[in-house]
Symmetry: C2
Subunit: 322 residues, 2 copies
């Protein structure tokens, strides 16, 4: 009996490629398609229908790949995505990459092997070529590849709203803490917009870049100390909530009055900003909406329906009336 291995050998391609051809998944070049079609005809290959139906059947499993589920932004996104998937009859496998691209790769392999129907990726590994993957993937707040749909908050709007607070406060010298800039993420727009507003209003604006996947709170406290040492005349700090909480804590420890001496303004707006005293003003990301759109775009990809956009941007709002 002719097997899939025979077809692969005859066509001079991998077994995996033949599988993808049979299941109509993933990108296969025209030339490869013809080689496989020819091999199937010559060898009179009849794929095992039972195995094939098992293989191509839906798993109703979706993988969520994030760098650190303990971060309030990611735990809140995780809860919202799990909820949205549950409403569609899908279960969610959680992959916490902890800065390990090999773990992320394992999930991408599962996708290729049809063990999950799709993946939502809120992580970013520098050494993965996402553009090689042509299967149901939605990126959460990350630009992974030109043809992978991205769902993100309106960071530009968030940056401008935050900027207004610093302007109204009469700040003269501020700093914004930004994520690792070697990977492209929509959040870059927030920092660009914020910097632009500062420049327009003649406010000196420094930038400090955090490391890739730097999530440890103790390391945020160290960054806070370093910044407060280096810029003793700073009167404003704009950073993601967890980093902002670290700066506020260190500023209070040094006897600075918040916000009169130093305006600390956050970004993310999960439950965590509510714990701060003095209160931490912040920008609230639209978690439920982000999850809803990400899951609905993924469902379209899984069902091979047309996806009308490659970028979905959802408005944010400030935590307090501005």
């Amino acid at each position: 009996m002719t097997t899939i291995n025979d077809v692969a050998q005859y066509a001079g391609v991998s077994k995996n490629t033949v599988s993808r051809y049979l299941n109509n998944r993933g990108y296969i070049s025209q030339m490869t398609r013809e080689k496989i079609r020819n091999a199937i005809n010559v060898l009179q290959y009849h794929p095992n229908q039972i195995a094939r139906s098992l293989y191509s059947s839906r798993t109703n499993l979706v993988g969520l790949v994030i760098p650190d589920v303990t971060q309030p932004f990611f735990s809140t996104m995780t809860a919202c995505i799990e909820d949205q998937l549950d409403r569609k009859g899908y279960k969610m496998i959680l992959c916490d990459t902890k800065d390990s691209s090999s773990k992320e790769k394992k999930y991408l392999e599962m996708l290729q092997e049809n063990k999950v129907d799709g993946i939502i990726i809120g992580s970013h590994s520098i050494d993965i070529r996402y553009s090689d993957i042509s299967a149901p993937i939605v990126a959460l707040d990350r630009n992974l590849a030109d043809d992978i749909p991205v769902v993100s908050a309106n960071h530009e709007q968030g940056g401008r709203i935050a900027a207004q607070a610093f302007i109204r406060h009469g700040c003269k010298k501020v700093i914004q803490l930004v994520g690792y800039t070697k990977v492209r993420t929509p959040s870059g727009k927030r920092h660009a917009a914020f910097g632009e507003e500062m420049m327009k209003h003649g406010i000196a604006c420094h930038t400090y870049e955090l490391g890739l996947n730097q999530f440890d709170f103790d390391s945020y406290l160290d960054v806070a100390d370093m910044i407060l040492d280096r810029y003793p005349d700073l009167d404003g700090v704009f950073a993601a909530d967890m980093v902002a909480l670290a700066v506020q804590k260190r500023a209070l420890t040094r006897g600075l009055a918040i916000p009169s001496d130093l305006l600390v303004f956050g970004y993310d707006g999960s439950f965590i900003y509510k714990t701060a005293y003095p209160p931490l003003p912040t920008i609230i990301q639209p978690y439920r909406q982000l999850a809803k759109v990400a899951v609905s775009v993924l469902m379209k990809l899984i069902n091979k329906e047309k996806v009308d956009q490659l970028s979905y941007t959802i408005d944010v709002k400030p935590s307090m009336q501005e």
Copy 2:
């Protein structure tokens, strides 16, 4: 051809029971076993081997059922469990019950249908009879049923360590905020031990009981206001970190000095207590160890190995040198 349905009908049991008999899973009474064996002999039933092997094969999936992944205690546990499962070659399906017992029931059904190999439950639904389930389940910090292994921190030790801080501080009137007491959890021992120490040292000790699965931070702020209103002469509060942060915030808003006017002492010790200013002393739960033991006990159950204990208790430590 005789089917599993015929066997079930002849034996007068459900199809599910016959499945469990064939796959040697779950509890089946001696009498039921004999009825099924007899039906199989009489009807000359030969289970479909392919279907059966597919059915009984490992999925390498484990379900983690928790009430709210955004809570830092649960997000930290989730990260540690996912890591431990990954080391054993298992993927983790996350089920965030959000106080919905129907979602938890769905997972228990998946377990019965062999869609996951085992479940770790850190949730608790009052209307589920866990004792009816005889399949690989490990309880995390919950007493679900007498024969389900429980993994938890040494809460009694934690309660006593915390008590020492209130005694040293010279407190006269304290309150401890406890979880919903209608469900049995090992954390009850922490409150009992704490209350005992207070009594031994002549310190008045009130108790306030939170609702089942009460996780919303705004509701913690309301509880904090209510307590500070009702007991204006309070000089100590013992509560889980998130609740303690709410109390500390409200106390600071009212102009109380922390800790001189009011000693606030937490419990849990995930990253979250580190954000507090003034610093929040707390008890650190052994997250990694809890995950390691829970996963290793679950693996034993899945592999039908002997589990030597039904209760695993792991020591805690204070966040500061006591």
